[in-house]
Each structure stands twice: as C-alpha cells, then as structure tokens.
C-alpha cells in the first residue's frame, strides 16, 4: 500500500489544472469553479480573494480533497489526487493537509489540547507523542496556558489559534485556510496574522482564502477570483521588507 508519509517534496507541491466544479443539474446548475489553473510552490503563501460566492471555498475543498472536481486535475506532491477514493483521500488529509475554517470547527466537548492532538491520534500516533506534539504546538501559538480550557471558554482569536495548531499537528505539506479571520475582530485578527506570518517565514506552504486585505498582504502571491475563475494574479514582493506591522498598517 502506498503511504502518504513517503510523498516527496517536489515543486510545485500543489497543482491544479482545468479545475471545474458544477453543483446541481439542468436550469439550476451552478458553475462554482470554471476552469482554474494553479501552481503552488513549496514554501509559498498564496492568498485568494474575491466576492462571496466566487468559488473560493470550493477551490480549497477541491485542493484539500474534501470534494472531487467535476473536471480537471489536482496534483499533490507529484501525485494525482482528484480521482482517489474517500478512504485514500482521508489518509492523505491525515498527513499532508491541514485545514483552518472560518467557523473554527473545534469540537466543543474537547479541551484545546485534546482538539490539537486529535489529528495525531487519528494518524495512529501514541497518546503520549500526540500530547507532547499538542503541547509544542500550543506553545507555538502562544496558548500553553489555555491547554485545558474548553473552546467555549476561549475568545474567537484564541479558538482560531487552536484550530491553526490543530492544522499543523501532523506537519502537513500544505495548510489550507478558509477565511481564517472572517469571524474575528481587529485585535484577534492581528494575532492570527502574526501566526500566519510566522508560518510563512518558517517555510510552511499556505493557501489562504480571505476578504481581508491585511491578510492578503502577508502573502507571496495574490489571486483574485470572480464567478468561478481567476481574474488577476499579483506577485507581492514584501520578502525584503517583510515586516507584518508595516504591511498591515496596524502598528502605526
């Protein structure tokens, strides 16, 4: 059996070509994605912007194997994944992909640490190793002191940082974030921004869907979408200056 652990790190790590997604039938048909091509290089951060309903979430779901495209191809680490079965996709997500959602999607009945260790447990790691990894990650997102709190006791920003820690649990090749700051106020947004920026500088490959220009400004590349297609691509060159505060204009 082919294991996802052995996926080679190739560039582009993530590639989509001719990606189409249709929902419904007949006159009710919706073209959520209409022929999209995308290459994401290893270590690159791509921001996707666009109006509501332009197909951003659909794109992320297809890239992460949550849904299968109507047409087109998705390649992850040199392997084609758009035709894989549910079980193979699940195994792939387990180790190669980390998801971050706008609504956080934490399990309400689990503490922060239990939420973060869940992917490691699903991947078959020992409880001790999973817990150690969770502690590291919570430390990294600055929430060690919140490890034993339930999501209901955390602020929105804290919840999203827990969700990001969870996404990093199995050292994924790619993190896919769908409007990670969409439910947050300015201060919390800034916390999450800092975290995402630190991931970028650490070399984590990231695809972030966002409405927020400040979030988009942290990316290496910015893609604008409309009606299921890409309308504009901009390469950002903040690498040299690179300071989040300046870019986001929040620390003036």
């Amino acid at each position: 059996m082919d294991t996802v652990e052995s996926l080679p790190i190739v560039s582009p790590i993530l590639r989509a070509s001719g990606l189409r997604m249709r929902y419904g039938q007949g006159s009710g048909i919706v073209h959520a994605l209409d022929g999209v091509d995308l290459d994401v290089a290893t270590g690159e951060t791509v921001a996707v912007m666009g109006a509501s309903g332009s197909g951003k979430s659909t794109l992320l779901h297809l890239l992460g194997g949550l849904e299968r495209p109507s047409a087109g191809e998705v390649w992850l680490a040199g392997r084609r994944i758009d035709g894989l079965g549910e079980t193979a996709l699940a195994r792939l997500r387990r180790t190669a992909i980390g998801f971050v959602f706008q609504a956080f999607h934490l399990m309400d009945e689990l503490t922060a640490a239990e939420n973060v260790e869940l992917p490691a447990l699903l991947a078959g790691q020992s409880p001790r190793a999973a817990r150690r990894r969770a502690a590291e990650l919570l430390e990294r997102v600055g929430l060690s002191h919140r490890a034993e709190h339930l999501p209901s006791a955390l602020s929105g920003g804290e919840r999203q940082r827990v969700a990001i820690a969870r996404a990093l649990s199995n050292e994924p090749l790619v993190v896919l974030a769908d409007e990670p700051t969409g439910n947050l106020d300015s201060a919390a947004t800034l916390d999450v921004l800092r975290l995402l920026d630190s991931l970028r500088t650490a070399g984590q490959t990231l695809v972030i869907v966002t409405h927020d220009a400040r979030v988009a400004a942290t990316a290496d590349r910015l893609i604008s979408m409309r009606d299921g297609g890409f309308v504009e691509e901009t390469r950002l060159t903040h690498g040299s200056t690179g300071r989040l505060g300046e870019l986001a204009g929040l620390e003036g």
């Binding site: 949550l66 849904e67 195994r91 792939l92 997500r93 999607h105 009945e109 689990l110 699903l122």
Partner: protein, 614 residues
C-alpha cells in the same frame, strides 16, 4: 377558534416535517398499549367459558367431600348437609377413591368417582367425546384427557385394573388438571386452614389417602368405583349441593367449617373458578410484567426522541416567541402533536390487544364454549387511552418547561443543547484504536442518551431472560403427561417477540438521533483524516458498547426478576442460551446501526461543513 386552528396547523406541519420520528413514536406507544390491553383483557378471560360450563352441567354451588374412616358416620354428616338451610338441591353422595393411572406410558394419579347411568340433577358432567360411564368403561375429565393425550376407545390402567376410555367430559365442579382436589387436600382461598379446625394435615394411620402427586379426575360406574376403592383401601364420598343463593356459597362454607377429618370438606364454585383462573394467572402475570417492561422501553425511546427533537424544537420555540407566541401557545402545539400520536397509538394498541387476546386465552381446556369471547370493557379502553395520554403529557411537559425557561435569543442561537464533556471517557479513548476512539467520544457527547439506550436493552434482555427462566422452570415442574407445548410457551414467545421488536425500534430511534447529532463532528473528524469506514465503525461502536453493557446488566436483572415473580428457586437457563441472547442482542444492534452509520459517514464532508458554517 383562530388560535386552535393555528395550534393544529403548526402541530401537523411539525409532524409532517419529521415523519420518521412520528412513526417511531407511534410504534413505541402502540407496542406498549397493545400489551397493556392484552394484560387487562386476559384478566378473568376464563369467567365466561366457566359460566357456560356451569349452566350446561348443572354445576354445583358447593362440593362436599369426606373420607370414610372405619367407625365414622360420614354419610350421615353429608345427609345432614343436604338438609341444611339454604340448600335447594343436591346429587350424591358418590363413592370415590384416589389411585394410580397409567396411560400411554405416563403414570399419574386421579380421583375416580362412581356415577350412575341416570343423569344427576347437580353436576352431570357433559360428554364432549364418546359416551357416558359403563362397566369397565371410564370417562376422563377433559383437561386430564388432554394432558394424558388419550381419546375415547384408548385403554388405561386404574390401580391394577384395565379400563377402556368410554368418553371425555367437562365439569364445573373442579378446577382443571393437575389442580383437582377433594378432601383432605385443598384448593382455592376459602378452604385455607380454618383457624378453628384441628390440624387437618395430621397423619392418620387408619386412612389411606393414596399416593401423593398431581390429581386428575375420572368417572366410572358406581360398582367399579366401589371395587377400586376396596382394592386401594381408600373410600371417600362426594356430594354436590345447589344453594338457593349461589352467591352465598362462601358464607355457607364458613358456617360449615370442618372440625375433624371425619366431617365434610367444602369447596365453593367460586373456589373452582379461582382454580380455573389460577391456571391462566401466570399468563396475566407474564402479560402485565411485559407491559411494564415494554412501557419502560417505550418511555426510554420516547425520551430519546423527544430530547433529540429538543434542539430543533427550541429553535422553533425561539421563532414562535420572537413573533409573539407565548410559552402557552408553544406548549399547546407540542401537546397537540403528542396527543394526536398517543390517541392513534392507543387505538392501534387496543385493536391489536383485542385481536390477540383470544389466541392467548384459547387452551382453557376442561371448559365448554369458545374462549374467543373475551371481555372487552370500556374501562379497559379508558385505562389504555389514559396511559397513552399520560405518556404524551410527560413528553410535552419536559420540552415545554425547558422552552418556557429558555431565553428567546438563546433558543434562536441553538446554544441550548451543547454536547456534554465526559472527561474520563475522552481520556480513555485516546488510548484506543481510531474507531473505538470516535465511538466512545460520540457516546460521551450524550451520556443520558447512551444510558437510556443501555437501559432499553437491559430491560428487553431482562424480560427475555425472565421468560426463558420461567419456561425452563415450567418444563421441569409440569405434572406427568401435561403438554409442555402449552399456552405458556406461546405467551412467553409473544412477550419475547414484542420486547425484541420494541427494543429494535428503540435502537433505530437512538441511532438516528445519534447520527444526526454527530453529523458535524463526524464530518470534522473526516476533514482531519478519519476514513468513512472509521467514522461509521465509530458510530456503530457508540451503540454497540452500551448495548453490550445493557445486555449483561439485563441478564442479571432478568434472573432477579424471575426470582421475584416465582416463589420457588429459579431455574437459570443454560449458559449457552444466555450467551446467545447477549451475542444476538449485540449482533442485532450492530445490524440496525450499520445503515444510518454508513449513510452519515458517506455524506460529503464539504457540504456538511459548509452548511454548518452559518
């Protein structure tokens, strides 16, 4: 008027929105009311066949019997009774003895009564097969003949003499085999050791009571009876009395209590009827106990359904309240829904119980007439309906109170039913394989539902095990020749089938509620890398583990229940049967949960997470 219409319309809409739940609710209440109806209808089901037999045979109001001991003047005592005030007629005294009967390889004991060719004015047994007594030809009482499996024309041995079976007859003077009893043994409630009488069980060397054991009844000619009595050295006399007022029979007996073994022992027709009812009493016990068990399972299922709808209901309540509906209106809508379901269910339950009752009261052998004519009274209808409405009331009360207390905003936000956190279960689960990990966590999210599911299984298994114990017990205890495939097995089988059916309905209710409730967390687990197979195995595990615990609990409870219902030590069913019940229960639950679990695990993850995103 407008408000009533509004309430009805809202109620109908809500039921139609969730048809599966409405149907499950209907099934649960129907099963409970059907069993209750059966239990009530069977109460006194034998009274009418007994009355028919009493009329057809000139049944006595009082039966007097006495042992003829050397030197005693027992016949004079019987004659005195015949002349006592209140006595309107009599037959006898007839000579009788008690002896060993051998027929078709079965050995048992019977009272053998001597009769003339002429018809007796009181207690003339009615021949249902063959003819009346002749020299060398015996007539067997019907329940006795059935137990031995003999028919007219067969040969039997009485003591050491061979007889031909001349016929089979019914009588209203004695309860059925093996409860037939004359002095000095007793039956019924009125002859229970009179305090004024000397100890009647004192051994008497001068009287031979014959062999111990169960008793049948048969009739021979007067000459044959005296001959047999001489051979067994035990002679007694029976006299049947007709009273001016049959209802006064117990009082008559109280006025003529035996003072020694030489004075007559009396039994009233009420005692005989009691004996007949005694024979179907265990049926009533079984039916009533199973109604209670079914009622408990039904209640568990109803609570799960009602609670499962709570989040949904609360949001609706929030909506209604937001547009100006009062808590009263909200409660009225819920009540209207549940009352409609309860009324339908009690009608169905009454109909099923009414139709099934004759099947169960059927083998009332030893009596005339069809047992199908079971009493079905308005009080039965009223009681069954009241129980169903009571269930509806409780089902309404809980969410109504909760809804009235929940703030409108909170209800709209649907934060009213957050999952529980059972920390120790979550802690244990981290050490387990992924399907078990997911399953334990699903179970831990709704501990009350898990406990209710477990309780439902425990009650069902307890009922089944009690039935098995009763069955094993009866087989052991049965009198020689009594047919083991009697109505008892029928009732126990019916009870088991109903318990299994109800437990299955319950399991389906609980699995659906659980699968719906766990939709988001299942989708999330899959987004994080759990495979569909792991998720569906997890959902099934969440039902199977409590089912296993419930089944084991039910085993112990069932044996305890059998102990409680039976005065004698219970016969514990063999281990392989108990193991089979537990395994069968787990397999059935696994099968029932597999479908909803698989369905919910196949649902596209993206879609669920997207809809839950609002």
């Amino acid at each position: 008027m407008g408000r009533v219409l509004l309430v009805c319309r809202l109620a109908v809409r809500d039921l139609r929105r969730r048809p599966a739940e409405a149907v499950l609710l209907l099934l649960a209440i129907t099963a409970a009311t059907a069993t209750l109806t059966l239990g009530l209808v069977l109460q006194g089901a034998s009274a009418q066949p007994y009355q028919t037999t009493r009329v057809a045979t000139g049944g006595p109001d009082v039966v007097a019997s006495v042992v003829a001991s050397p030197g005693g003047d027992q016949l004079a005592a019987l004659e005195a009774l015949a002349g006592a005030p209140g006595v309107a007629g009599h037959s006898g005294p007839f000579p009788h003895t008690r002896l060993v009967v051998k027929a078709r390889g079965v050995t048992t004991v019977a009272w053998t009564q001597g009769r003339g060719a002429a018809s007796a004015p009181v207690d003339q047994p009615k021949v249902t097969e063959g003819g009346w007594v002749r020299d060398g030809g015996a007539v067997l009482e019907a329940s006795f003949a059935q137990a031995l499996g003999v028919r007219a024309g067969d040969r039997i041995t009485l003591g050491d003499r061979s007889f031909q079976v001349a016929g089979v007859a019914v009588t209203a003077a004695m309860p059925p085999y093996p409860k037939i009893c004359f002095s000095p043994c007793m039956f019924g409630e009125h002859q229970m050791a009179p305090p004024t009488a000397p100890p009647v069980s004192a051994p008497r060397e001068d009287v031979n009571f014959g062999p111990p054991g169960p008793n049948g009844l048969l009739w021979v000619t007067d000459a044959d009876a005296r001959d047999l009595a001489a051979r067994t050295r035990f002679l007694g006399y029976v006299m049947n009395l007709k009273l001016a007022d049959p209802a006064s029979a117990p009082a008559f007996i109280d006025a003529h209590l035996p003072t020694s073994l030489d004075t007559p022992f009396l039994a009233s027709w009420q005692d005989v009827l009691y004996g007949h009812n005694k024979m179907i009493e265990w049926k009533q016990v079984a039916m009533l106990v199973s109604s209670w068990l079914l009622g408990m399972i039904a209640l568990a299922g109803i609570v799960v359904l009602v609670a499962g709808r709570m989040a949904d209901q609360l949001r609706r309540v929030g909506l209604l309240k937001a547009v100006g509906g009062t808590p009263g209106l909200v409660a009225a809508v819920l009540l209207a829904e549940y009352v409609a379901v309860a009324l339908l269910a009690s009608a169905a339950g009454l109909a099923i119980g009414r139709l099934a009752a004759p099947l169960l009261s059927e083998p009332a052998t030893g009596l005339l007439g069809s047992a199908g004519a079971v009493p079905f009274t308005w009080s039965t209808v009223a009681l069954v309906t009241a129980v169903a409405l009571g269930i509806a009331g409780v089902a309404t009360f809980l969410p109504a109170v909760r809804a009235a207390r929940t703030s409108t905003v909170l209800a709209l936000a649907d934060a009213a039913r957050p999952p529980r956190r059972t920390a120790w279960l979550i802690g244990i689960s981290t050490r387990l394989p992924v399907p078990l990990l997911l399953g334990l966590r699903v179970a831990a999210r709704r501990p009350r539902r898990t406990v209710l599911g477990m309780a439902g299984i425990a009650v069902a298994v307890a009922g089944i095990v009690a039935a098995m114990a009763a069955n094993a017990h009866r087989f052991e205890e049965k009198a020689p020749g009594a047919d083991p495939r009697t109505a008892l097995s029928q009732v126990l089988l019916l009870m088991t089938v109903m318990l299994v059916a109800q437990a299955a309905v319950n399991a389906i209710c609980i699995t659906w509620s659980t699968a719906l409730d766990a939709r988001r967390s299942s989708a999330l687990a899959r987004a994080l890398g759990a495979t569909p197979a792991q998720v569906s195995a997890g959902l099934s595990t969440a039902q199977i583990l409590p089912a296993l615990a419930g089944a084991l609990l039910g085993l112990a409870t069932g044996i305890g229940l059998a102990e409680l219902l039976d005065d004698d030590p219970v016969t514990v069913p063999p281990l392989w049967q108990l193991t089979a019940v537990v395994l069968g229960c787990v397999i059935v639950i696994a099968g029932l949960t597999a479908i909803p679990a698989r369905l919910s695990a196949r649902h596209p993850v993206g879609e669920i997470l997207r809809t839950e995103l609002t």
